[in-house]
């Protein structure tokens, strides 16, 4: 590295290189029109920022080495700028630089903000919504497994193939979903901790249920005690954790929605500024030259306006599609998920009413009631409210049909449950059991009906969501690249346009 002694004239790149100077002056400068090639544009950009040659308005190219006492490059640059500012070509150069800068900045900010919103919309469609559904799925499959386990217990030592299959299915789905959730949660986040908790609790739960089965088969009541313990673990630790996961994934979904829908203010303001500056530059040119059109500036204006329009339209469409996906998809999905959870909880409590046989009571309005039956009624009321809401939100027949079917099954369920409770309260335990876990005409049938119908409705709303959110994402497609290209074109146009004017001073 050479270190030039200070004070001496350094031939460093800051000093106006002959190339920079020569580019302008080499053009023999009659104020003639027409030739305006791309070449003079290039040096114009670095021109004012570097401080171009001393007094370029004279057009004479003095040898830089010829002036003996030189001050620092900065001081010289400032002086030259000041000198340039009072001359028209200097002003033109500054103007050209400003226009180019504004347009380029607009393009860059647009590309950046559009890319951000595209990413957020992509996250809504491909990440946070699927993860939110996945979390609801974890909750549902855990609750389903637990309900199946208690049904198996009710049925006696030899649980049916159906209840065993349901239990295994629930555990398997939960385990699979946990793997997905673990892969998608950020390390160290609350979600990651919750997923880790669930991963730790799931085998523990399964161990307890297996022990319960073994003892049940041997005819020992300690099997029932294990099942109660497993149920406590599920109700008190696992389901709340799954619920927390669902809540946090839903929060992430809301965040992604907000990110995708936030108006790109910076890009909009810069776009308007660039347009205003271009308009003013053209007005100024018109005032001074009485020429109406400067092709370069017109092209720059057109490109900028196109980019701005594209931004406004593209993001506007994306916003409205995303809003639609939220209103018609996510809201329905949330309500349907909640309805499904309520039906599962109601079913679990219905079973536990028979498992516990009046062991737990609560006081409701001064009356002692079976705790599980009271809980069943709370969940059924929630199910009814959720179904009514889902019906209100359903915006087509295909969405409404399964919801109506679920509501019908829920009504039948309530009726059958009342009959089963009456049997139990009259001491006819076996008949009550038959009415709850038996075959045709049992509440099990109604519950299955509700569950199947809700699954259908959920699948439908998932499709609706994916369609609308996909349309929103498509509306943003190509916007970052397009805005960048248009801005580059616009900047080039502005520079060319100003270059044309500048060349008139040669």
């Amino acid at each position: 590295m050479s270190q030039p002694p200070n004070g001496s004239a350094p031939p460093d790149p800051d000093t106006p290189a002959p190339a920079a100077l020569s580019a302008v002056p080499t053009q023999p400068a009659p104020p003639g029109p027409a030739t305006a090639p791309a070449r003079p544009a290039a040096p114009l950009l670095p021109g004012p920022s570097h401080g171009s040659g001393p007094d370029p308005s004279h057009g004479s190219g003095p040898d830089p080495g010829g002036v003996p006492p030189r001050r620092t490059a900065l001081a010289e640059g400032v002086e030259r700028l000041r000198a340039a500012a009072v001359t028209e070509p200097g002003r033109l150069r500054a103007l050209g630089a400003l226009l180019a800068l504004l347009v380029v900045a607009f393009g860059a900010v647009t590309a950046w903000q559009a890319a951000e919103r595209t990413a957020a919309a992509g996250d809504v469609l491909h990440r946070s919504q699927p993860l939110s559904s996945e979390a609801a799925g974890i909750y549902r499959s855990l609750a389903a497994a637990n309900t199946a386990a208690s049904t198996g217990f009710l049925a006696g030592g030899q649980e049916t193939k159906d209840s065993r299959d349901r239990y295994e299915q629930g555990i398997r789905t939960a385990a699979d979903s946990l793997v997905t959730a673990a892969a998608n949660s950020e390390p160290g986040s609350a979600s990651a901790a919750t997923v880790a908790d669930l991963n730790r609790l799931l085998p523990r739960y399964k161990g307890l249920v297996e022990r319960a089965r073994v003892y049940n088969r041997q005819g020992y009541p300690v099997g029932g005690a294990y099942l109660r313990y497993a149920n406590d673990l599920m109700q008190e630790d696992m389901l709340p954790a799954a619920e927390a996961l669902y809540t946090s994934e839903n929060g992430r979904l809301s965040d992604d929605y907000a990110d995708a829908k936030r108006p790109p203010w910076a890009a909009l303001v810069l776009g308007l500024l660039a347009l205003a500056a271009l308009a003013w530059a053209q007005y100024r040119t018109y005032r001074r030259t009485h020429r109406v059109l400067n092709r370069g500036l017109v092209a720059a204006t057109a490109a900028t306006a196109a980019a701005l329009l594209w931004l406004v339209a593209g993001h506007g469409v994306a916003r409205s599609q995303l809003s639609a996906s939220h209103d018609h998809g996510v809201r329905s999905l949330t309500v349907l998920h909640e309805a499904r959870l309520a039906s599962l909880k109601a079913r679990g409590n219905e079973n536990l009413t028979l498992v516990a046989r009046g062991a737990e009571t609560v006081t409701v309005g001064g009356e002692r009631e079976d705790a599980y039956d009271a809980e069943y009624r709370t969940e059924m009321a929630a199910l009814g409210a959720d179904l009514a809401e889902a019906r209100r939100l359903a915006d087509d027949a295909a969405g409404e049909r399964p919801v109506a079917a679920a509501a019908g099954d829920a009504a039948r369920w309530r009726e059958r449950h009342r009959a089963a409770r009456a049997e139990d309260e009259n001491g006819n335990y076996r008949q009550a059991l038959e009415k709850v876990i038996g075959g045709r005409g049992a509440t099990a049938e109604s519950f299955d009906g509700v569950d199947t119908a809700l699954a259908t409705a959920l699948a439908h709303e998932e499709r609706e969501f994916a369609r609308a959110a996909g349309a929103g994402l498509d509306a943003l497609a190509g916007l970052p690249q397009g805005a960048g290209t248009l801005a580059a074109l616009g900047a080039a146009g502005a520079v060319l346009g100003i270059g044309r004017r500048l060349s008139e001073y040669r």
């Binding site: 009541p221 099997g223 737990e360 335990y429 059991l433």
Partner: protein
Amino acid sequence: MRVRDPRARLRGWGGVGAMAVGCVLALLLLVCLLPAFRPAARGLGAAGDGGTGVTHGEPARAEAACTDPERQTLAPSGADGPTIEEIRSRPEEKRKLIVGVDQNSYRWGYRDPNSGGTAELEGFDIDLVHRIAEEILGDRNAVLFKAIPTDQRIPAIQEGRVDMVVRTMTINCDRLRDVAFSAPYFRTGQQLLAPKSSTITGYDGTLAGKRICTAAGSTALSQLTADRAAGKLVASADLSVTVPSQLDCLVRLQLGEVDAVVTDGALAASQAAQDPTVALKGDAFTTEYYGVAMRKDADDLVRRVNKILVDFRADPDGWRMSYRTWLSATLGGGEEDLRKSEPPRPRYLRGS
């Protein structure tokens, strides 16, 4: 150990003397303060181990009035009264005896998962319930079983959710304040259950630092708490694990969450029968009697149940048959084992 023996014995006698003096003082005080009090309720038996509460003013009354709780019941009678009439007059479908039972006590009150889907509760307690229903309502199956956790037995009776509780319920003085008991139908005592490989040898110093599981609201828990406060149980014993039903203790024991279980010997034997790796450690350290609990004012029902119990015990197909069916497997089927569990000849010392 031998050297300290006489002195310890001396101290022991001193303690007993002090207790006796305390008892007499408390009794005097009571008689002075409450002239209407009827000392007839006091049993004839010697002071026994009822003196622990003497130092406290408030429980002294009950303790002094109640030395042999298993005798504080009404004389048997077959006459019907308002309570029985009410049960009989229940409408058709509901004309059933509502009984609080356990469904978790192996061979006492439980549901055999392999009983072929009948879902019937069965066991020694359940036999007795069927017998009572047959005598009162003429149908041994006219019963509505309510499974209740240990600490809900008294509230269930007081709130009228059940007519009676037949659920391995120990007759004691505290409970006599809230409910009425029948004559005893079974004799047992608190006993310790631990893994066979455990260093715990019995209700003694080997429990230092060990976690002991009991059912919430059980006599075991109150006994252990009192013993620990009195220094009879090592202070480092951890009693913090309580569960709704004694069987839940076996789950905790198998999972290694506790080191030992204390419950009635009869139930501890049921637990041991379900897991060959655990065993009863040491002898029973209390003597207790199971009774049928009813509402405090259901005098006719108490008398009737006492009558049924007399017949039940006299009937060769009654008490002894039920014992052989359900309990010989867990408590031993020898004649001596039966005698150990059979309560003494009942005494009916309650006036009204």
